[in-house]
């Protein structure tokens, strides 16, 4: 134990380092030090490895240091979209962000995503976000009898909305949008991405129903092309571009 600093790194060994996590916390029931509902910062210093992600650090805190820390995660592999949080002031998935990419020499700040009510620590109430998604009717709308086989589509027709099918509904885009922060009535980027996926689908016939909804005063016209959503999306969806395509469809009347 004495000579750890000089100990040579074995071949194949992953280097380890100390990292400080500065986490914004809130307990609705209160703690001995903090009244109910108060938001405060708490720092944890951990020894982590170069292959560890922010989620691994959060696990280490929850499992070994402070079991009261609350955060969401399900698959832990960037597919379910449960663990979006504000890491060093940018919305990211904790399971897709390596600690070593965040400059571990300085404290790493972790906050819940902004614009949605915090329930506890890093958990927010996602209901307003899901309500917006429901409003744009995210399901196939067709007329006429159901065909006996698949509804066919050419690769070109598919390519038009391919980008927006990648959405995992993590809310990183919507909660990075400055318009959504100030006006919770705005549908938000994710709902527009969800609508885009059906509006530009050649098999769907409900495009004008959705476009009318997005023509609302809380709809696409609230977008100021800040590009925060495009930057935040962990799936690399070009969100602002999708929103502009919806605007263009409304202005030209052609889908």
């Amino acid at each position: 134990m004495t000579a750890t600093a000089e100990a040579p790194t074995k071949a194949g060994e992953v280097p380890s380092f100390d990292v400080t996590l500065r986490i914004q916390r809130m307990d609705p029931d209160g703690t001995p030090d903090h009244p109910a509902g108060e938001e405060y910062w708490e720092e944890f210093t951990l020894t982590m490895h170069g292959t560890d992600r922010v989620l691994d650090a959060l696990h280490k805190i929850k499992w070994d240091v402070d079991g009261s820390l609350a955060f969401r995660r399900s698959c832990a592999h960037g597919v379910c979209g449960s663990d979006a949080m504000r890491i060093n002031a940018k919305n990211r998935l904790a399971c897709k962000t390596l600690l070593k990419d965040l400059n571990p020499k300085r404290p790493i700040t972790i906050e819940p995503i902004k614009g949605l009510p915090v329930e506890k620590d890093l958990i927010v109430d996602m209901e307003p976000f899901f309500a917006s998604y429901r409003e744009i009717m995210p399901f196939l709308m067709t007329s006429g009898p159901t065909p006996e086989r698949e509804r066919l589509q050419s690769p070109e027709e598919r390519a038009r909305f391919d980008d927006t099918t990648k959405c995992i509904m993590c809310a990183a885009c919507t909660t990075s949008c400055p318009v959504f922060w100030t006006d919770g009535q705005y549908f938000g980027p994710q709902a527009i991405v969800g609508a885009h996926r059906f509006i530009f689908d050649s098999r769907d016939e409900g495009e004008w129903d959705r476009l009318e909804i997005l023509n609302d005063k809380a709809g696409v016209w609230k977008c100021r092309t800040a590009f925060n959503c495009t930057e935040a999306c962990p799936r690399g969806i070009e969100v602002t571009k999708a929103i502009s395509e919806v605007k263009k469809a409304l202005n030209t009347g052609a889908v």
Binding site: A131, D216, K217, K222, L250
Partner: protein, 157 residues
Amino acid sequence: MSTADATTPVVEPLRPIRSGRSRNHAEQWSWLFMRGSGVLLLVLIFTHLFINLFSGDGVNQIDFAFVAGKWASPVWKIWDFVMLVLAMIHGGNGMRLLINDYARETWMRKTLKTLLTACVATIVVLGSLVIFTFDPCPLDASGDLLPGVPTFCEDVR
């Protein structure tokens, strides 16, 4: 009432979070107007700045006579009028969007928007009055120049 009602929990239908749909594509027209007027204002304002500040003697040429000379031509009267109206509506609409974003309370939104509309209307009316009733050489009842008019009025007569 069937017996199932006693055991089946009543699921409240989820209400949409937004109240009311848009008024006649108002926001779409607002968005299109901002783009159109923005492009037009770029041309109007930069031509205005070039004529007033660069061409001829530059910034030193601006005095009462220079303005009077410009407004003797209907082109510049209409130019300045269009610039005034577009700039006020463009800026006013931008302020309206900011008020919508940041004023949370309904009474605050209504108060600010009323004030904004009053300001825009007052400035447009006053500006138009100046442009269209401007007379550099006003005459008195007998047809002579009023005292204090610029010297060039003698030549114009």
